[in-house]
């Protein structure tokens, strides 16, 4: 446990963007609500029955998760490649830490720690922002006035976000391990290894057979996850400042989205993905253990 914690700290020392990016988003958003003359959230049709406060809180999280998503992809692609590139792997491997521990710590950082930390950043800033917005009263959600604050709604929204986060972790675990595989495999350019082969394969498949089975197998759409994990079909869009309502943005559904963990956990697609993730993880560990190109 001590070793695992130290491995996690070590990852955060190396990849500072992992915590700087969400922090920066929080600061920028707070600065924006504190200085902009008017803040508007648009979620399509104003006839939605989802409360404006919930919409605002959802919208609030989006830039955080976008930023976190980008830094996590960059992190996972670098986490097993960088140490080979600068040969520091010789130092790391001179310590009594197994390759399994190292690889698991890296996965844990990318898939669990950063998303959870981002959630905390987003939750805390949403409190501050709500306070600023309430004081200044310059917020509009779908053209209606400032949403009235409700602590219970805030808490329920955060719980739903947290549940979504765990659903996302499970759903996208194979993507994360795939990126780690590219990172552990590549002699140079893990980006090319991660993105070129699947695209080429898909193109070949389409040219040869006119089909897109590969795409369908590996595709794990977000909306698909939302349909599995929640009781409603939710599509969110977000805009900031005085920009116009994005076309096609809409919220369909009534009330707060209801988490459906049992439906998600019973989905074969989830489990096939997790099995693939476990398999790739084993390969990654073996690559780190037996590969010697230092």
């Amino acid at each position: 446990m001590r070793v695992l914690l130290m491995q996690i700290r070590r990852e955060l020392w190396e990849h500072r963007s992992l915590w700087i990016a969400p922090l920066l988003v929080g600061i920028l958003l707070l600065a924006a609500v504190a200085t902009l003359s008017q803040v508007q959230f648009f979620f399509g049709s104003s006839s939605t029955t989802v409360s404006p406060l919930v919409l605002m809180l959802f919208g609030w999280g989006i830039p955080f998760y976008l930023a976190a998503g980008i830094v996590v992809v960059v992190y996972l692609l670098d986490c097993l490649y960088g140490e080979r590139r600068d040969r520091s792997i010789l130092f790391w491997r001179s310590m009594p830490v197994s390759d399994t521990q190292t690889v698991l710590a890296k996965l844990l950082v990318g898939l669990v720690i950063v998303p959870l930390a981002t959630f905390l950043f987003a939750a805390v800033t949403s409190l501050f922002a709500s306070a600023i917005l309430a004081l200044r009263g310059h917020v509009q959600v779908n053209g209606q006035g400032s949403p009235s604050w409700n602590g219970l709604t805030w808490l329920r929204t955060q719980l739903i976000l947290l549940y979504s986060l765990f659903a996302v972790m499970l759903w996208y675990a194979p993507y994360a391990t795939y990126l780690m595989l590219a990172s552990a495999w590549a002699r140079r350019s893990p980006y090319a290894w991660a993105f070129v082969p699947p695209v080429l394969l898909a193109i070949f498949e389409y040219m040869l057979f006119g089909t897109n089975y590969l795409g369908r197998i590996v595709e794990r759409g977000f909306n698909q996850l939302v349909r599995l994990a929640f009781s409603l079909d939710l599509q969110l869009a977000f805009s900031f400042g005085d920009t116009a309502v994005p076309a096609g943005a809409r919220v369909s559904g009534r009330g707060l989205p209801q988490p459906m963990p049992s439906r998600l956990l019973e989905s074969p697609q989830l489990w096939v993905g997790l099995a693939a993730a476990a398999l790739m993880l084993v390969v990654v560990i073996r690559l780190r253990r037996y590969r010697d190109d230092s």
Binding site: R9, D86, R93, P96, Q101
Partner: protein, 300 residues
């Protein structure tokens, strides 16, 4: 004494090229200081990496009874090593490097590392990338020497350090060694500096053992003759394995020749390890020792 390291038929190839290590077999007993000496590209670093389980290999490498490639992380609690200097990650801060080793290594003693670093100009908040090469090596050595390990493996530990620091390093190494039951395996090109430190030498040439010798047996096994004028042919008749002209005089090295036999032919002395190394690796007759039953000539 127990064998800390037992290597049997160790072979290593990179790709389809010739073997870098070719059926090496040897043993290292507890408490020895072994110098692994060879030319550039002889396979020293590969051998050390195999000992540490850092590279896949054929044959058997048992360290503390564990198979190195399989049980690397268990081994690392007993071993500390510098596989190469300059592999500390450049983004890491000095204080974080100390905290990291303290966090993952049960035998790390922070006070000792701090004490060594206090004598250097290394700032705690500095990133390793901001340090000079010599400082990085000093830091690495400070970290490694603060680990109370039973086996210390050092690959060119003093590369790039000035003479004063090198002396200080070997002094520290030796006093630590004397304090504790430690075994040390090291490689260096500066043989003269470690000549008085080593208890055993392993010469490695083209991936094979050219010599496996406890230093205490050196005087019985090898004799250096600085040939007196006019005695060259008589000396040559005794079949030296190496001959060299130094200032117009012949210097010859003999193996398994009693000094008394040579006494009349010139000045007889024990060769230095450096001379022996040059002789063994450049003599036309130099041939790698056949893979011998391990521990031969090493029974203490």
């Amino acid at each position: 004494m127990a064998n800390i390291i037992e290597v049997q038929d160790l072979t290593k190839r990179y790709g389809s090229g010739p073997p870098v290590l070719d059926r090496l077999s040897f043993r290292v007993q507890a408490g020895r200081i072994v110098g692994l000496i060879g030319r550039n590209g002889a396979g020293k670093t590969t051998l050390l990496k195999a000992l540490l389980g850092l590279t896949p290999y054929h044959g058997s490498v048992r360290v503390f009874g564990l198979e190195a490639s399989r049980d690397r992380h268990a081994l690392m609690s007993e071993i500390c090593f510098i596989a190469d200097t300059g592999v500390l990650p450049r983004w890491l801060r000095v204080e974080h490097a100390i905290a990291y080793v303290e966090g993952v290594h049960p035998r790390f003693d922070r006070k000792r590392a701090e004490a060594v670093l206090a004598r250097s100009a290394i700032a705690r908040r500095a990133r390793i990338g901001e340090l000079s090469k010599g400082m990085i090596t000093q830091l690495h050595l400070a970290l490694i020497l603060a680990i109370d390990a039973r086996l210390l493996v050092l690959d060119e530990p003093t590369l790039g350090l000035d003479l004063i620091y090198r002396r200080a390093f070997y002094d520290t190494l030796l006093s630590d060694y004397l304090d504790k039951e430690r075994t040390i395996v090291l490689t260096t090109h500066q043989i003269e500096e470690v000549e008085n430190v080593l208890t055993d030498v392993l010469f490695i040439d083209h991936g094979r053992l050219a010599l496996d010798l406890p230093v205490e047996e050196l005087p019985q096994r090898f004799v250096q003759l600085n040939v007196a004028a006019g005695k060259g042919d008589s000396a040559r008749a005794l079949e030296p394995f190496y001959e060299r002209e130094v200032f117009g005089r012949s210097m010859m090295l003999f193996e398994h020749r009693a000094p008394e036999v040579l006494a009349g032919l010139g000045e007889v002395r024990t060769p230095s390890i450096a001379d022996l190394f040059v002789a063994k690796l450049t003599a036309p007759t130099a041939s790698p020792e056949p893979p011998q039953p391990a521990a031969a000539g090493e029974a203490a």
